[in-house]
């Protein structure tokens, strides 16, 4: 195969009745298993959904200076973490523009795992100049699953020998599933109660089988990228190449984004003595970001009116879209939305958008372009705080 199958492929390929596959970092990834992603989406919010997230890039960072290296790279403070902590963080180039985002998991005093959307080995190695640290790309050796949804904890508690009960949001524990060692972190990309399970690739099939077997009693369904996309938009989580362009790939200045412009000010720790991009970020923090990354909700009445005017009932975008849609304030362009779609749960048409700061305050009313029956129209949208959906079970 020219595209790589993940270690779960022997199982997922059988289950993928839709034969709808997409590419994810050179791997085959199911867009949806069933003909429609609807049930898969509802499993996330209602029971549990199982995602194959092996295509993430994974790096093992080990050695005396492992924490120093990561602190040099990412914007959050790694030195202050304890074993078992997981951090979500972006990292930047020297101009303070975001290169990538991912998680840093502290597996030991001197052992970390970094996950990322794009390859980062060269960057990590170059940042490691003068440091005593080993960096290994373990992307192929480590398989990963995400189990997301209200019944996820119950399923995993059936399978593991402890550690899950008190596992807090963004914490990780080493345990085992049917005797096979795994690390389980309470993390995910759905904004729900959920876990990510990290395992050696050779155990992938056995662990998949165990989860399917137990999950059956808890309404669990394997789910694909379409369902995940809806959930992550509801959760207000951004996606590289869709919601922002990595500074590594940007061809022009205006394609670059700083963490502040991506609503990640909370991740920028300017108390650290130095990290890549700090100088630029301190300066930007002082003057305030030019852009902000926000949620917008389409005003239903204005949306419906556009359709009624041509004699149609409103049509909502299913599945979610990924493209650039202009947003206006009167005659001026205030910004653009980059992901959007219908939230089946909230019964709202929602989108993630980049707005110039003066139009980014929650409650601001703007207009978003859309095409109704071949004609360009504008619907009213309101700026809201992200996430759109934030159940208490995510953290408790």
């Amino acid at each position: 195969m020219i595209l790589k199958p993940t270690p779960f492929h022997p199982r997922t390929s059988v289950l993928c009745e839709s034969h709808a596959w997409r590419r994810w970092s050179g791997y085959l990834a199911a867009s949806s298993y069933e003909l429609s992603h609807e049930r898969e989406y509802h499993s996330i919010r209602n029971a549990a959904a199982l995602f194959d997230i092996t295509p993430l890039y994974k790096y093992r960072v080990q050695g005396r200076d492992a924490a120093r290296l990561l602190d040099r790279v990412v914007t959050r403070n790694v030195a202050r973490t304890k074993v078992g902590d997981v951090l979500y963080t972006p990292w930047c180039d020297h101009r303070g523009k975001v290169l990538d985002d991912g998680t840093v998991a502290r597996l030991g005093e001197q052992l970390f795992r970094l996950t990322s959307a794009d390859p980062n080995l060269r960057w990590l190695e170059d940042c490691a100049h003068g440091l005593d640290v080993d960096i290994d790309d373990v992307s192929e050796q480590v398989a990963a699953l995400a189990l997301q949804g209200p019944t996820a904890r119950a399923i995993l508690m059936q399978l593991t020998d402890g550690g899950l009960e008190g596992l807090k949001f963004f914490r990780l524990t080493a345990t085992s599933i049917r005797g096979m060692p795994v690390e389980i972190s309470r993390t995910g990309y759905t904004g729900d109660l959920g876990f990510e399970i990290w395992m050696q690739a050779e155990h992938a099939l056995a662990i998949w089988d165990a989860l399917i077997e137990v999950g059956a009693n808890y309404g669990m369904a394997p789910a694909g990228m379409f369902a995940l996309d809806v959930a992550r938009i509801e959760a207000g989580l951004m996606l590289i190449d869709v919601d922002y362009v990595s500074a590594r790939k940007a061809l022009i200045e205006s394609q670059l984004s700083s963490p502040f412009e991506l609503d990640l000010a909370w991740t920028v720790n300017t108390d650290k003595p130095s990290f890549v991009g700090k100088e630029a970020l301190v300066a930007e923090q002082a003057r305030g970001p030019a852009w902000q990354f926000v949620g917008v909700v389409v005003d239903w009445d204005s949306f419906e009116r556009l359709y009624l005017a041509v004699g149609l009932a409103p049509r909502v975008p299913i599945p979610a879209w990924r493209m650039s849609v202009p947003i206006f304030s009167g005659g001026e362009q205030a910004g653009y939305a980059t992901s959007g779609g219908w939230s089946p749960l909230l019964k709202k048409y929602i989108a993630l958008a980049h707005l110039q700061s003066k139009w980014a305050a929650p409650g601001t009313s703007l207009e978003m372009e859309l095409t109704v029956e071949h004609r360009r129209k504008r619907a009213i949208v309101t700026v809201v705080k992200k996430p759109f959906f934030n159940p208490a079970r995510k953290r408790t």
Binding site: D93, W123, D126, G130, S274
Partner: protein, 486 residues
């Protein structure tokens, strides 16, 4: 009184920078990792340095051997190249009458072209991308001056810059020997052969400051003179542990023995590699800067052999470079990480002086690559190299006159002098490491990404075998910055 300035590194640029700063009233501590100051230094000393540091009064002597070079003729005898171009032309006539006829015009054209470089070398490299009007004015002045050369000279200069020295010499001459000995000046210290582009520029670079028709750098006692001058607290034979940085600014230098020397300004004549990657905590450097510094090309290709003799050798300077192909083949060996089996030899006689009553010949042997395909620079390898050198000069220097030999390999130069990969110029002189690109665009103006830390060594503009020009320009930059802060 302001906090002292620390100048790091031995070498002529460090000495010039230190004394230049001291003359401006700064309190300067110089940390010289070397023990001894060499009695002889090669390269052009900018007239401004001689004037400002009053070097003539302190006993500066610039050697001017005549003939400035001798080269063995294929059938015995030697071709002598004299400071008087008519006399040289005469000597050349036996080899080639057309070459002899062209010699004066060649010398004149090279003099004109070198004058363009000399002007560029007397100021920091123009920053063509600047938005600062003062700098733009400077760039405009250079552009105007260059245009004033007139069409023919301007075109010939622009054409020459990217050329290979072989193409340039082929345009002028036919004698293999003449082209060989001239071509040698184009590859000096370079990991290039005479057919490589940019070697014509290197040829011109080494001609800067020389008398017309002299194509070897001059030697002087500038380092010895400066070391004798007062005004700088010079600490020799000490080793640096690190350059201390806090909040992105230098705070001083810590020595291997633990001594901390506080300073708000540090000027380093060591290589960018050593200064920034070895001595500064990399946390202060952006990865792009680290990549850029690592990518500075510096590949040592020269070994030195010192022969002490019981009598004078009968030449002042001797080159064994019989043809461009000979040089090219010598380079071919280096390309595959082998020591040239038929190397370029530049031998220079040093007469007894003072207490030292022996005669010496210093041989610069090229190509001796720092990285070897097989084995390392061990004693037997060095002995073999000495044997090659002695065999090469055997016809010009009786074997029984040799009292002792000493070999400095590129590996020795790396260890003892901190030359990156044994490269004396710290950054090879090439078009992509020239002017605003030397040694990298962001370091080209002597300032570094660390506040208060400056570079002044041979890697800086103009550097590469000039004596004190980079030191002077860096010192001027430091003083300018200091003036602005006050």
């Amino acid at each position: 009184m302001s906090a002292p300035i620390v100048v790091i590194g031995g070498g002529v640029d460090a000495l010039v920078a230190a004394h230049w700063l001291a003359r401006a009233g700064e309190s300067v501590t110089m940390i010289d990792e070397r023990g001894q100051v060499p009695s002889s230094t090669s390269g052009w000393i900018p007239p401004e340095v001689i004037r400002r540091l009053d070097l003539a009064a302190h006993g500066l002597v610039i050697g001017a051997p005549d003939p400035w070079l001798s080269a063995p003729l294929p059938n015995g005898g030697r071709l002598d190249l004299w400071r008087d171009s008519a006399r040289t032309a005469n000597a050349m006539r036996a080899l080639s009458a057309p070459d002899a006829d062209r010699w004066p015009a060649f010398c004149e054209q090279m003099r004109e072209h070198a004058a363009v470089l000399a002007a560029l070398y007397s100021a920091p490299a123009p920053d063509v991308m600047t938005r600062d009007w003062r700098e733009l004015l400077h760039v405009a002045k250079i552009a105007l001056r260059t245009r004033r050369l007139g069409r023919a000279r301007l075109e010939s200069f622009l054409r020459l810059v990217p050329m290979s020295i072989a193409d340039l010499l082929d345009d002028w001459f036919e004698s293999d020997l003449l082209k060989g000995v001239l071509g040698a000046a184009g590859v000096m210290h370079l990991h290039q052969g005479p057919r490589s582009g940019g070697t014509a520029l290197a040829f011109l670079h080494h001609h800067v400051g020389n008398a017309p028709g002299v194509f070897r750098p001059s030697h002087s006692n500038i380092e010895a003179v400066l070391a004798r001058c007062s005004g700088v607290d010079r600490r020799a034979n000490v080793r640096i542990q690190q350059i201390d940085v806090q909040a992105g600014r230098v705070t001083g230098v810590t020595l291997v023995d633990g001594t901390h020397i506080a300073a708000t300004l540090v000027v380093s004549a060591a290589s960018p590699w050593q200064t920034l990657l070895d001595w500064v905590d990399a946390a202060w450097l952006e990865p792009d800067a680290i990549r850029a510094i690592r990518n500075i090309r510096a590949r040592g290709v020269v070994a030195h052999v010192v022969l002490t003799l019981d009598r004078a050798p009968g030449f002042a300077a001797l080159a064994i470079a019989p043809s461009l192909d000979y040089l090219e083949r010598a380079y071919d060996d280096a390309k595959y990480r082998r020591i040239s089996h038929a190397p370029l030899i530049e031998a220079r006689y040093v007469a007894p002086s003072g207490a030292d009553a022996t005669h010496a010949v210093i041989v610069q042997m090229q190509f001796a690559p720092y990285l070897l395909a097989e084995g390392s620079w061990d004693a037997s390898r060095k002995q073999a190299l000495v044997d090659t050198v002695i065999a090469a000069v055997a016809n010009h220097l009786p074997r029984d006159a040799i009292l002792s030999t000493q070999c400095v390999s590129p590996a020795d130069a790396a260890t003892d002098d901190g030359f990156p990969a044994g490269q004396a110029h710290h950054a090879e002189l090439a078009l992509d490491q020239f002017l605003w690109m030397r040694p990298t665009p962001s370091l080209a103006r002597y300032r570094t990404m660390i506040g208060g830390l400056y570079l002044c060594g041979p890697a800086m503009h103009p550097g590469a075998g000039t004596a004190g020009a980079s030191g002077m320009l860096a010192a001027q930059t430091v003083l300018g910055d200091r003036g602005q802060q006050r």
